[in-house]
Symmetry: D2
Subunit: 353 residues, 4 copies
Amino acid sequence: MSTTLATTPSGRAFISDNMAGASPQIARAVSDAAAGQVLPYGNDPFTDRARRKLGEIFERDVDVFPVSTGSAANGLSLAALTPPWGSVLSHPDSHINHDECGAPEFFTNGAKLVGVPGPDSKIDPAMLEVAVRRRAGDVHSVQPSAVSLSQATESGSVYTLDEIRRLSAIAKDAGLRVHMDGARFANALDHLGATPAEMTWKVGVDVLSFGATKNGAMTADAIVSFDPALATELAFRAKRAGQLTSKMRFHTAQIDAYLTDGLWLRNARQANAMATRLGDGLKAIPGTGLLATPQSNILFCRLPQQVAEGLLAEGYAFYHDRWEAGIVRFVTAFSHSTDDIDQLLDAVRRHSH
Amino acid sequence: MSTTLATTPSGRAFISDNMAGASPQIARAVSDAAAGQVLPYGNDPFTDRARRKLGEIFERDVDVFPVSTGSAANGLSLAALTPPWGSVLSHPDSHINHDECGAPEFFTNGAKLVGVPGPDSKIDPAMLEVAVRRRAGDVHSVQPSAVSLSQATESGSVYTLDEIRRLSAIAKDAGLRVHMDGARFANALDHLGATPAEMTWKVGVDVLSFGATKNGAMTADAIVSFDPALATELAFRAKRAGQLTSKMRFHTAQIDAYLTDGLWLRNARQANAMATRLGDGLKAIPGTGLLATPQSNILFCRLPQQVAEGLLAEGYAFYHDRWEAGIVRFVTAFSHSTDDIDQLLDAVRRHSH
Amino acid sequence: MSTTLATTPSGRAFISDNMAGASPQIARAVSDAAAGQVLPYGNDPFTDRARRKLGEIFERDVDVFPVSTGSAANGLSLAALTPPWGSVLSHPDSHINHDECGAPEFFTNGAKLVGVPGPDSKIDPAMLEVAVRRRAGDVHSVQPSAVSLSQATESGSVYTLDEIRRLSAIAKDAGLRVHMDGARFANALDHLGATPAEMTWKVGVDVLSFGATKNGAMTADAIVSFDPALATELAFRAKRAGQLTSKMRFHTAQIDAYLTDGLWLRNARQANAMATRLGDGLKAIPGTGLLATPQSNILFCRLPQQVAEGLLAEGYAFYHDRWEAGIVRFVTAFSHSTDDIDQLLDAVRRHSH
Amino acid sequence: MSTTLATTPSGRAFISDNMAGASPQIARAVSDAAAGQVLPYGNDPFTDRARRKLGEIFERDVDVFPVSTGSAANGLSLAALTPPWGSVLSHPDSHINHDECGAPEFFTNGAKLVGVPGPDSKIDPAMLEVAVRRRAGDVHSVQPSAVSLSQATESGSVYTLDEIRRLSAIAKDAGLRVHMDGARFANALDHLGATPAEMTWKVGVDVLSFGATKNGAMTADAIVSFDPALATELAFRAKRAGQLTSKMRFHTAQIDAYLTDGLWLRNARQANAMATRLGDGLKAIPGTGLLATPQSNILFCRLPQQVAEGLLAEGYAFYHDRWEAGIVRFVTAFSHSTDDIDQLLDAVRRHSH
């Protein structure tokens, strides 16, 4: 990966939405929070506001634990949902299974991640039916304890509300709890046109990793728990894992600003719209092939080799040939503009000739 | 703890230096970092600069792992220095032993913290001599593996360079490694008038928890390792513990600004000077008693009950009657001004009559 | 330690009761269990009988988990009684704190052992009153979660029923659970003349490490749980820790024989009586001093150096100068005879001149 | 499972070789070890002899850690071969992956088990080639650290020496260590006609779980390490996991007798021969189908439903319909006689009409 890329402000980075910076409103909020003395460890007005706003958008009391990364959110959430001898059922593509260097195993003290496959990076309900009861009660086996759904998924697909409801019901019926990895929560929400409540506790989610970082915040994700019985455990686990920030205002000021005046939804809408625009544009270019209509801000397509190479030569950055030869992934962010997309499409067109 | 305090910008908070906000230069740096696309996970120019500057101040190659809290820095550092069947020797007052809810036990997978007492919250060398060899080689006992020194200590005292050198030598001679909890590293440095190199690797420190948060940063501490053999392990442990931030620029921009133009040393000097000023003032007030001349930014004194109550009534915040009846602790921060201190002294005088 | 001792059948070993072999009845039971096919993992008639007999001696339903060592019994029991962020309160001399190389920390995933001192290796109730509430609810501190009592203690003293009742009440009142390390359970029982029920669940014990190995069995200890709510967790934890033996009959045949016709109580009575006989004899020898009247099978005394050396020269084995110069510990076992004791006393007398 | 079966001495149990009792020589050895006083924790002549004999059969110095179960042997071995952020590559059918309730995850503090498939429950070399390098050096992923081979495998197949050599070479070439789960070590040895040295360290095995329990011992397996650098770590890990037995003579007397006069090899030969005899017999019965020629003491076949039901009605015990409808597994043991097998074959013939 070229390090000259590292500084390009050009909007040509499509490797991941974590290459984007932060929304100006969030930068300002953090900066504004720098003055004055407040109580540490979350007993401050910034955190109060963030908590209150999360309660509002979820239309109920929630317990909130700000954390510095999505991996910490996922690991701590799962630790509260499974005993060490439990198994966590997730799609094999899931971030917790594939990209966290065993963080869930660390936080849960050794629970086992068991893959439940399905098309489009989504867990197949029929497979889940079997998996939730596999060797239940058999002391020689780990015990199915939690299901973790990524919404949106790692490949950009989005579970419908009915799909979540069905998977949750399968889990609950067998005594398992439900976690949602919402690293791209707002992107999924925008796609579905659903409310946060409809996409979580109303369809059976117990604990949510509420992602803000990828969608315009800096370093602020949060665990949002819908089960009051987990609050004490989560508080101690978070502290013990080094996730109870002393100057928490600097985390929660981000969340506060993120949730103010719908910034978070606008950011997600922009990122999603840019993926759609990119997809629409690519469809019209002979020789390129969309693998699926993008549902959030991730798009997979086939590009001829000379096109991919041409783009890279111009400073575009994206993953290619990683899943399969000829397959390219573009991830759009809130910070991409229509100009950024149109220039990318122009470049694809140019190199396609 | 009154929540009205939570918003007071008045400089009357002396509970802890984590009640201070952030230096304007750091706030600006974070805000400035918000624009543009860079590579994630520390492969960005902000992190490059922070790493380079840390190398410069320590006058050698160092490995740097930015983390979101001091507890994470301590836990990860210790995990790299002790096996699970090891013991970590620290003063009973140490933050790792007393205030982290077992975080070191979590990160080390169950190593044991063993207290080695001594006056002024500093480990007594004679006690350490015994402790480093206690049941070494005895399979029925945990094995002394690391010594952790807090510099400055939790009560504000500061180890001299000779003291560190001696404790390190005792540790090294018995095959133990040395960790320094530098949550108040700059405050100690200012007190000693030493260089960072002189206070760490030149006197035997292997791994340092480099604290910036308490001294003007927002959420950015870092592990600084002087032993290249630990780098790989620390990298995997940090990732696995949810401490490898995707948008790391927002952590390292803080460190970059912190180390620019001596800001970190100026901040520490200010905090220390305010404690000294407070101490000098209190000495002149009949009925109050300083427990010791402050060496960093923490001051313990005796205050008559009506004085303490009078201060609290005016919105002053501090710990009292926590260690012993009548004992009050004041912690000053970079953000306290001479006016803040003089007003506090006025108030003490007023209530002393 | 001389390895020639290793084979001496002479009854001159007083280092620990784990130097004794096994009762002939237990050896025979194990040997008899060798024939025939039975179901594995405890679904066999030997285990059935052991379970039933434990239920009988405790006068109630109990859950039984045979394990191969007392350390495993203690570690698994504590893991079921404390969360990882909990603390286990025990006497600083306790085996779990002092002699298990951090096994409790391993099994509990990092809970903290906190010492609560008191004379005679027994927890002081007034100290416990304070310890059970120390920083309860404070997220920065481990949370007092379980009290572990050794009965008999590591120095051979025995808690009275009233003492256990009182300590349990203090624990329960603050929401803590109670574990008893009964490595020398039968010895304590014999001393008190109490029933197993009176010494455990009737005075508040939740989970017991039921020791048989030191008192005539080979390799068979067991967790006995009085709280049915813990059964499932203990079963999974035991399996996961490699403590669910496939040919469990060879463990439980030991327990079965141990509990048959009062063998276990006779063994304990013999061991205790030998300590008493030794104590009585020593009292009559000028120059030797008993530190306390032995309550179980452990005796501490002062012996002049030439006496200790003389005994060692004759092949006697015991710990000396380990706690303090001049202090000798003798541990008697079920296998010691009155002749063994009388010969030892003769030898002490001879060397005292 | 019928509990009347539990006591049948009839030789009709084919569920697992752990249903067998113990060899008379081993029962006698344990019984004989009951007399006399010896030093605890393995410093005794029984353990000395067991160690020496293991050194002899492996034709070199080895480090030996007696443990109470195969799960403990596997878990501790793997903990010494992988860091917590490592992955252990084994066949999906492996006992460590499938039947130990996450024990490896517990002992390793959360390493990840990654399945590498292949026919006959044996790891496919081409798949291993890929797996050992998967994301090596990528901090976002667990790191391939150890390969674990079951010899014989869980389905009774046996790796040839060349196969082990090749898999080891692939592992070593990529920097991974090699563990062998030898729960049925002697059965594999008998099949190959190889020496213990040829089947282990000479073909690249670093640490072996040496199984004795299934092949005529009672409760005695052992870790045998060929890498002296692991000895200290294994000793502390074993102690800490409650696997350092105080009266270790009762474990090691079993191993001593097991290795005396070739008992272990005779036992394995008998078990294997009984599987072969059963296989030969079944081949001659129309309507039954052997899935493969048995290589050790496990045999899979197809039986018509009325045959299986007829056998069960006569008190025969075996797993059926567990892998697939109509598939039956028979596991023979050292204790099965030719009469036992011939009677079983008679019964199959009778029910086949």
